[in-house]
Symmetry: D2
Subunit: 278 residues, 4 copies
């Protein structure tokens, strides 16, 4: 017997939990944990269930579809590892954390490949027997570069793409191919210090906390739905360089936190926000 | 229409959520939020629901009682202010925080009275038009003292008693009268530094974090079910005295956090632990 | 014998610590604690010393002035309570915290008066036997309002003015009268969400942390030197209203932290930043 | 020109800072940063200075020795990488973090070798071209095992030995060979849950925070001077196993924090405590 994850989002109406849980019970499944939320702004209902048993998946989904409001989104999948492709540039600190966890089977994912626009990280990645693809952005148009990226990424059919400090801005065309499938770390406590050199901006402003934000990428740079944010204390003794170093710790931590949530299907995207059943 | 809180704990079995939510739906109530937990150690089920509508309370409870496992504990109450009696000695910092929040209606409770074994806090308490009762522990047996306490406390029929730095050890006899109804703050990160002078113990051990713990009181001093814990950083520059002062901040914060959870019926006690639907 | 605080800022040069500490030693004073910082951006030296003994203050300052670079700023004062005037509007949570600490002598300051543009907080303030002055902003020009404020504030000759949720924007003219003497709490993690309704902005952006910032006020609203910042976790269940309530806790905490630093002369302002010898 | 670290500890007396800084100035060195502390319990003085210039080291130390109280401990060394030997058993999470930082030159140390009483981590360690020594504890006396350890460790003459989850209890004989040179991570917020299975103890007690402690090892297990402590929130949904997993994050974080402090000579040991000039 396996654990399955049931995800539902639909318009809210009275009796939804009763309908859903009764359907689950009728299919002889046990609810291990159920979390739900009604968004009062959009009058929408969101639910995540972990189910134990041997579901007749098509029949259960069909039964739910019939009972729930029209246009309900229902997914039912076995709890299993997701497949990731990681994009990086030259910074190693987020990538190394993912590769190490993957190597020791501590993350609920397979890292299928690493793609970078520099060759610097190749020897490190190959220590972990993970394919490394070098796709330079130089001497070609952004469109060509992104077409090459798309081809390489799609060849792996990943569930999610992780930008582990990928320092190229992606076009709306590219992003739209992977809607809510690209996870980025912005090295600031968004929405403070959007754009380039956030640590330099933070230094110049004299803030006493710096942060990092893991978010889904959408068409507006640094403005996608936020999954997780963390901060750490800094003071007047921090130069830009030491802020960058300190920031690595919080970038690493926020990425793995966000990724663990996404990999366990705990994150719904609604509009420009997330609902996180932590 | 009002919000009600439904609390259920019972032996676990398949279909509980279906039975409960279907019963709620049949009574024409809307589930605002539902949280549940199955404790794998005891195979027990715990649920907290906020319901919107006009329930026929006795009928709903009877219906649930009939459908749920025997010895299920079911309570259904309107979401409303709880009544508190606060016991203090001489330290003001937790008491003042409660009185100020009560005064400005920021806490979901009525503070019916303050009882102290010293007169020091009387003028302060009376600023807030809250009755202050001085019951000295001096020149009398512990039994007499506790009988006088019991009489005074029970005259107010409070839902909970808060030990806001009440520096007398209560006997098992007294505690048993108010099972899971007494909330204490221990000024350490339990189970470190149980007993007297925890800040002195912390200083001597050279710890780098100090903490505070809000817990229900049971017969074993400092060993009741923990509701909430918080810590703060200290370093070698902290003397015992400055640890005590710094500790006030975290004691205050942990008490109000725990109390808000208890006042909103978010805390179940099971054995010597709590389940907190935060 | 008393403790004195010596504060020095000047251009950096080799041998400053030697000159200063030798001068202190020659005056037969004991250094309890010394902290210094050289700002590499401006090549400036900052020092805070706590001295124990009975200094001939004018002679020590004269001796230091002669030895240190020209235009060195030197202050030497007995460690003692500072005088505060608090400005508030209708929100009580920061003000009540200050008044309670003042009442129980837990803050290193005298609160000489509270000034508000509303009468709402009057009964509460007067419980603490602190003068309350109501100065309405209605039916008069900003200039007239600020002149009345200035008159009332200066009648108390405070060391610092605390804006404990004072919801009026002060003009550059007013601010310039009290340079680096006005401490404000902005209810966001600056520089995110400057301006009005930061919690609403935070809600709309779907952030996972909200914060508060204590800063000195300068001519550009919300852009003065930051003293202290704190954050707390929020999630999708927080409405604007619950964010505001949760924010009260962090606003209170950040104000008292910043104020304690300022009251102990631990904060230097340099340009638009602070140096904090915590 | 190089940066040097000057460390001094001695009996306290008036004028120490003047004497030391004047001596430094006479040797034409610039103080980049100076931190000092007087421990009121032992009347001892501790100082750490970063000095810039080209010191005549023996002459400066001799000059200081002559001016400071007898038995003053003075060290003056160029700021440079320390040498580490890491002991591990089977858990990878602390070791991998150290190796990755070493590989990318992010930690101020050389990892000379890894020694383990199991072979499990060998392939991983060798990816980083770091020598791996397998010394089994099985089938031999503790004395023999520790003699073999000692021989292997001392062959590298490391500055510090890091127990990165080394799950064997070391004898007082072994520890005394490396006084204040062995850094351990205990997987609890000491002094809570000393001894074996701290996460199981934490689970059974129902705590709401778990922690980790980095400390120097002395003769009493888990009782050496604490360098750093960190905690994270847990709740009723955490089983022992998930506490262990969550604990890995905080163990990793606390070790690297403590190690960075030690590697920059920021930690003095005095009695059973540390003074940390962070």
């Amino acid at each position: 017997m396996e654990t399955h994850i049931l995800l539902i989002s639909c318009a809210d109406e009275k009796g939804l939990i009763s309908k859903i849980s009764t359907s689950i019970f009728a299919f002889n499944l046990n609810i291990i944990v159920m979390r739900e939320f009604v968004d009062p702004e959009t009058d929408s209902f969101f639910m995540r269930c972990e189910l134990f048993g041997e579901p007749d998946k098509p029949a259960l989904v069909a039964d739910l579809k019939q009972k729930l409001p029209k246009q309900a989104r229902i997914t039912l999948n076995q709890k299993q590892k997701k497949n990731l492709v990681v994009l990086a540039t030259k910074e190693y600190h987020c990538l190394s954390d993912l590769l190490t966890r993957f190597h020791f089977d501590e993350i609920n994912a397979n890292i299928l490949a690493v793609i970078s626009n520099h060759e610097f990280l190749k020897p490190y990645v190959e220590k972990f027997e993970v394919p490394f693809h070098f796709i330079s952005h130089e001497g070609k148009s952004k469109e060509t570069f992104e077409n090459q990226l798309t081809e390489q990424v799609t060849s792996y059919s990943p569930d999610f793409m992780v930008l582990a400090k990928f320092m190229r801005i992606l076009s709306p065309q590219f992003v739209s191919l992977f809607e809510n499938k690209i996870i980025n770390i912005h090295h600031s406590f968004l929405p403070a210090f959007v754009g380039a050199n956030p640590y330099k901006q933070a230094f110049q402003r004299g803030v006493k906390l710096i942060g990092a934000t893991a978010h889904f990428v959408n068409n507006n740079l640094d403005e996608g739905p936020i999954i997780s944010q963390k901060v750490l204390n800094v003071d007047h003794t921090f130069a830009v360089k030491t802020m960058v170093q300190a920031g690595h710790e919080v970038e690493r931590a926020v990425l793995v936190e966000a990724l663990n949530l996404v990999l366990e299907d705990r994150v719904f995207v609604t509009g420009n926000k997330t609902i996180v059943f932590a």
